[in-house]
């Protein structure tokens, strides 16, 4: 139970070594799940407040970057009384170790969750070799 509670706090992203942000807003590191399946790898990231129009995904060489822009909504005529989470953009970069079929990458955003399906390139797919019995 304690384990589950620990991860709830949003993690602010470290200041990048190169390329500082021009916008003065917070940037968070989204929590992700990565699942490897037979023919593809799925990256699932929590980006509450972002939608399909505000998420940018780029793949350069073997670096997969996710950037989600969030427009903070401040309720009118109300004062903030309790703040357990901050609002800001999301950023995370992954190095892909496996060859990915770049043309077939698919990404969807639903209810604030980004799901990227990275199909493995034909060459790295595990092939099943049938063993025939002779005689």
């Amino acid at each position: 139970m304690d384990e589950a509670k620990k991860d709830v706090q949003k993690q602010e992203a470290a200041t990048p070594e190169k390329g500082e942000h021009t916008r003065s807003r917070r940037v968070y590191t989204p929590a992700v799940d990565i699942i490897e399946r037979k023919d593809d790898i799925i990256v699932i990231a929590d980006l509450p407040g972002a939608d399909e129009k505000s998420v940018d995904i780029t793949l350069e060489k073997n670096e997969l970057s996710i950037y989600g822009k969030v427009e903070p909504e401040v309720p009118e005529h109300h004062a903030l009384h309790l703040a357990e989470y901050g609002i800001g953009d999301y950023k995370r970069v992954f190095s892909l170790t496996e060859e990915v079929d770049r043309d077939k990458i698919q990404a969807t955003v639903r209810n604030g969750v980004l799901r990227i399906v990275l199909p493995k390139a034909e060459a790295v797919k595990t092939r099943k070799i049938a063993v025939r019995s002779e005689g």
Partner: protein
Amino acid sequence: MLWSEFERLGWPLDPWRNFEHMRRAMTRWNAPTVVEFPAVNVWIAENSAIVTAELPGIDPNDIDISVVGKTVTIRGSRKPEGLGEGESYHRRERWQGQFTKTLEMPFNIESGRVEAKFVKGVLNILLPRAEAEKPRKISVKSV
């Protein structure tokens, strides 16, 4: 001015006392030690309150909100991704499980007029103050 003069004038000896008090108040705001899922923000005005919570990936139909008196309770669950044969997690950081979170407002809530919306994985609940206890202005008649 010398420290001794502070004392003579009857001012608190430790000029950092107020500062320390402020710092403590600030750290309490910025770094809650344990936050139960989901993390919420609470906005309050005289006659209404707004509670927002980040619940990415949860179906709005699976979120249960109940209001009693001054308290609002949010319940729901986030199910883990089912794995098929030959599939494995490389990374597993996203929170999952069942949650219940209860928050107390400074006033009684008009339960019939509570509105909730769920946009882009963010829940927003509007809690109006009960009509019966809204402050009323009483005019004084001259006789």
